[in-house]
Symmetry: C2
Subunit: 478 residues, 2 copies
Amino acid sequence: MTSYPQSTVADVDAAVKAAHEAFQSFSSSGAQTRAALLRGLAQVLEDNRERLVLLADSETHLGPARLNGELDRTAFQLRGFATRVEQGAAFAFEDDPAVAGSPPVGHPHLVRVRIPVGPVAMFSASNFPFAFSVLGGDTASALAAGCSVIVKAHGGHQGLSHTVAGLARDVIATQGLPVGLLGLVDGPGSQIGVALVEHPLIQAAAFTGSVRGGLALESAARGRKQPIPFYGELGSVNPVVALPAALAVKGAELAQALAGSITMGTGQFCTSPGIVLVPAGESGDAFVAQLSEALRGAKTHEMLTPQMRKGFDQGCAQWAGEPKLKALLAEPAAADDVSPRPYLAQIDAQGFLSSHKLHEEVFGPAAIVVRVSGIEQVIDVLDAVGGSLTVTVWGADAPTDDNVSLVRAASRIAGRVLFAGFPTGVAVTAGQHHGGPFPASTVPFTTSVGYAALDRFLRPVALQDAPQWLLDRKGVPA
Amino acid sequence: MTSYPQSTVADVDAAVKAAHEAFQSFSSSGAQTRAALLRGLAQVLEDNRERLVLLADSETHLGPARLNGELDRTAFQLRGFATRVEQGAAFAFEDDPAVAGSPPVGHPHLVRVRIPVGPVAMFSASNFPFAFSVLGGDTASALAAGCSVIVKAHGGHQGLSHTVAGLARDVIATQGLPVGLLGLVDGPGSQIGVALVEHPLIQAAAFTGSVRGGLALESAARGRKQPIPFYGELGSVNPVVALPAALAVKGAELAQALAGSITMGTGQFCTSPGIVLVPAGESGDAFVAQLSEALRGAKTHEMLTPQMRKGFDQGCAQWAGEPKLKALLAEPAAADDVSPRPYLAQIDAQGFLSSHKLHEEVFGPAAIVVRVSGIEQVIDVLDAVGGSLTVTVWGADAPTDDNVSLVRAASRIAGRVLFAGFPTGVAVTAGQHHGGPFPASTVPFTTSVGYAALDRFLRPVALQDAPQWLLDRKGVPA
């Protein structure tokens, strides 16, 4: 097994200083420079596809089909940000001409611009070795905004992290940009990650991962002399609400496909459905039976790391300890099989509401069916779950009072509400919002997927009575 | 002296529950309803101008001229938000049509809407009894966004807080809206303020005040099971940079007017200039002499509260304890005069940089002149000051390398950079940004003045494959 150099705190300092130096010029770069860089980074991923996918698969067990798709998505995302930057997304400003007269009616000339915040810290995520890692959405959006980036490698795919960072730095150098623009550090999050976030020159941090790890980093970000924004995506149970209207039309089809969503990538997605709300009664019973059956036959693969597997087994065991919960599918994995088996259990709404431990995410292919009677119970269950990246509602096709109440409840706790399909698979597009009330996001007003992600790295500044030379430069003193 | 009922924690709970109930209908109200409410609130302030100003003056000593102006501004602000709401500011959404094909190119139909966050907590500020209090900018922007509001009264103007809240509730009732839409609680911030922020139904909080008070409330906001955004504007020293080019043209005029800005409202503005960077040498000497002289003759009035006066005296004394600092103006107030005298002292850049206690705000009519040689020293002083609401730069009329570097440094630490005039007086307009790196703001991406303030109370939600009935309602399930 290859071993990779571990960063010291001095290495972190050197990388951040290089990123700070690179920021001095890159922060005032034009759209063309940034777009060319983002496209060059997309291209280098594609040019090295075969060896990158091979390396990623050896480290993550996610399989070549998924990893090729993820590489496609990552390149698409980099190019998408390039296009957005060319369209002016990072340079938009509000020009508010002077109004003559005394206040409050009269006011001076104000131009509100947005400036890149500075060097930013990014954390590779275990479960997306391409799309949420070295050249993932956080890095792409930060570069689009004009920031330099330091990425902390993930222990689950160190080789890939170092290799991609090396390729990226070659692209940066070839384009005549300072290589400090993209730094990589590697080591335990509790030391190297914290040192990175605490570095006084770092101006924001973005993270996708566990609640525990995220809260530790957020605490470091907030404990600084000058606190900085910490954009953390920490956990989500992603309730799916199957209304009778949907079950009547295509219950069997939905059950089959839902099993696929629960077990996709062995359930290691932040948007993996963890709670399924199903009406009490016969059509609900049939749906649950179909879901169990489909899950029984579902394929899984080895989890990303042994710690995650341990966490999954412990989480299921903790759920199973709830006396009112009835197991539907709880086969132990065969002794010679490294893949966990899907877990499914059932409880009624009252039982669910009264057991806090059932409201917490178990990362992996596990879900709880909650049997509900009436819309009030559905809403109570959603409110008990609290912040979530997504809520999926099937069968709200008519504007009934119940459906109106349900959509309101879903919007109240989630960053994305789906009316068809499955929460896994997050489109990289302008209308996307990947966030939601805590713990889904530590800053629910922002998104980590889609083009609005660059807003996280641009801070507004109002220029009052700015001289013409500065206005000619659109308020950016290049 | 009238005494006002102090709220208990049970009162807080009742007020928040009423606000939550009111939110259920108001959150889906249309532009017309919100605009009519905001205009009605503006009108009731104007209709009761005489007695409100009298009451405010008796409690704050700010004087009728200033208080009438502040009431004008508050009414203007309420009407301004009404207009913005009619223009659709709170209802804008991004419609992102489906694209056929497989991901990453293909994607479902996504509509990103913004929903009001819920009942929000506001804190009356000592120094703006109208504009940052019961019907101030925080309340106006929250109502415009569709949120209900609970305001905590300020001990420095309890009578005004209760009277304005009563008038506002009459307007709300007259318009057929639920009176829970605007609640008032009153009591110590450390108990009643914290209880308000910790209430599970409260979804955001906005505050203008001291660093200590703000950090305590922020800690409560973040320590909740579900943390909420805390928009705090906590402190700012507002450096003013007088470049040689400006002193050469109109040094005397600027000195005179700067003295007015430092002593306006007895220095009790968050944008009051606290540090003046003046070039070493003769023209700088002349400017400093003129500034001292103008300050010596400036009028002040009694401070808002005895605690603030104590803080001012202690702050000046602490500054004066710095051996390298040379007092320019440090007259004690006459024994029979309740008004503090302006304080001015001078130090060179090296001395300033090495003394941390000089970097902290003293709230009141006090400023430090820092004598600087060359642009590097100017930038070092700005960086040492750190986050500030404003930086004012006089004389950066030409795009020299020095001026470019200076504007970059100013933008790096401030939310507003002025190139003429004075930081006191914050226009309520679309291009305004009243925020800045900590401690100026706890969320520097947001503004508490100007129409962008309503963005603080609208959280994005992406609706995926939403049914037509919901799209017909623009994604808001009214």
